[in-house]
């Protein structure tokens, strides 16, 4: 099936691109493996205009409802491969369906960065977690660690400290890179202990559950730190695997390079949202939606041009 446009990614950038594409009457499809994208991890959004306070899931559902109301189907699956055949892009999805498009908007966002250490995959859901707000309740009166030094890591540690008996915050550098207000709160919290300039080398357990972490240096004379859980909050990495074979240029941090109109160096491929470098390090829902709208507008112009 040939579409004028396929949007990959169902976060705020992709969903907004679809809303605009519908209004431009561009025949398009939206494919996304994680509906709502990164914002569905946000329990409190207070900076998206029009909503004083909303959860990421609620905002995602509202955006998805708007997309669907305009007659667009959201395919909730992953894209495995994209091939370029002259001026047509051919996509293969995880459920073995093939779609073709004249233009693409890549809005694949970022994926959670993993530590990539022994035990991380084995103990996922057995003490290893990537979502403190989701899983803190399973660690009441227990000892946990959070790895990372960002706002997300420190707020996770503080959230866990409400329920857990003890929270270690482990960061590879010094000082923390979180905003000063969060650093101060972590330092003042009696349950939070910050371990600086230390890396986690492995996650140990008894098959059923996490029991300890192996550190790269001794902490209070121990090479192992006894914990019941580890929360990994070390940021995200852009989802660009599909783009490499197509020759789309990345910046040195690995994000897609876009021009002011959201086009990439490959004719017909546009990008929007967290995966793109449009706003530098500033990655917000409101910037993602803006980029999505702009990308759809540029696709509209591009398609008009190809018809001449």
């Amino acid at each position: 099936m040939l579409y004028d446009l396929i949007i990959i990614g169902a976060g705020p950038a992709g969903l907004t691109a679809s809303i605009y594409a519908s209004r431009y009457q561009i025949k398009h499809l939206l494919i996304g493996s994680r509906l709502g994208g990164t914002m569905v991890w946000a329990s409190m959004i207070e900076n998206y205009p029009g909503f004083e306070l909303i959860t990421g899931a609620d905002l995602a559902q509202k955006m998805m409802a708007q997309v669907k109301k305009l007659g667009v189907e959201i395919k909730n699956t992953g894209v495995l491969e994209i091939k370029q055949k002259e001026n047509i892009f051919e996509l293969k999805t995880e459920n073995d369906e093939v779609y073709e498009a004249k233009a693409l908007i890549i809005a694949t966002g970022t994926q959670r960065q993993k530590l990539n250490i022994p035990g991380e995959a084995d103990y996922l859901g057995k003490g290893v977690s990537y979502c403190a707000t989701c899983d803190a309740a399973f660690f009441k009166e227990k000892t946990v660690a959070v790895v990372g030094g960002s706002n997300a890591a420190v707020t996770s540690a503080l959230h866990l400290a409400d329920l857990a008996q003890k929270v270690y915050l482990i960061y590879r550098k010094r000082p923390l890179r979180a905003d000063p207000i969060w650093q101060e709160r972590a330092q003042k919290n009696a349950k939070v202990e910050i371990i600086y300039e230390t890396n986690i080398m492995g996650i140990l357990g008894d098959e059923q559950k996490v029991t300890a972490l192996k550190l790269d240096k001794t902490y209070q004379q121990n090479e192992q730190l006894k914990v019941d859980g580890l929360f990994i909050e070390i940021g995200g990495q852009p989802g660009t695997e599909l783009m490499k074979p197509l020759g789309v240029e990345l910046n040195k941090e690995g994000y897609l390079k876009v021009k002011p109109d959201m086009s990439t160096n490959v004719v017909g491929i546009f990008a929007a949202g967290d995966v793109a470098n449009a706003f530098g390090e500033f990655r917000q829902i409101v910037t993602a939606t803006s980029e999505g709208a702009l990308a759809a507008n540029s696709v509209y112009r591009f398609l008009m041009g190809t018809k001449k």
Partner: protein, 102 residues
């Protein structure tokens, strides 16, 4: 969609003749709110073939502890009362479909 509980889990899941898909969730878990609608779609599509429902881990800690659920969302597929497959984290509808066909 069925609501599974500590009380009905034995009858509805362990003694079920049809396979069962259980979505473990809690009200405070924001990504869990994204799994709900997907599981509801699956419940309609598999009506009569697979029993599909949700279990609130906050209200039903016994089942959550028994199956060592320490991270949500978690979706577990049961066949003949035994765990056949488990998916941790927010995943696509396609991934949950694969769980059912496993």
């Amino acid at each position: 969609m069925i609501t599974f509980t500590d009380q009905n889990f034995g009858k509805e899941v362990l003694e079920s003749k049809t396979p069962v898909l259980v979505d473990f969730w809690a009200p405070w878990c924001v990504p869990c709110q994204m799994v709900g609608p997907t599981v509801e779609e699956l419940a309609k599509e598999f009506e009569g073939k697979v029993k599909i429902g949700k279990l609130n881990v906050d209200e039903n800690p016994q089942v959550a502890v028994k199956y060592n659920v320490m991270s949500i969302p978690t979706v577990i597929f049961f066949k003949e009362g035994k765990e056949a497959a488990r998916q941790i984290g927010l995943e696509s509808k396609e991934t949950y479909l694969k769980l059912i066909s496993s």
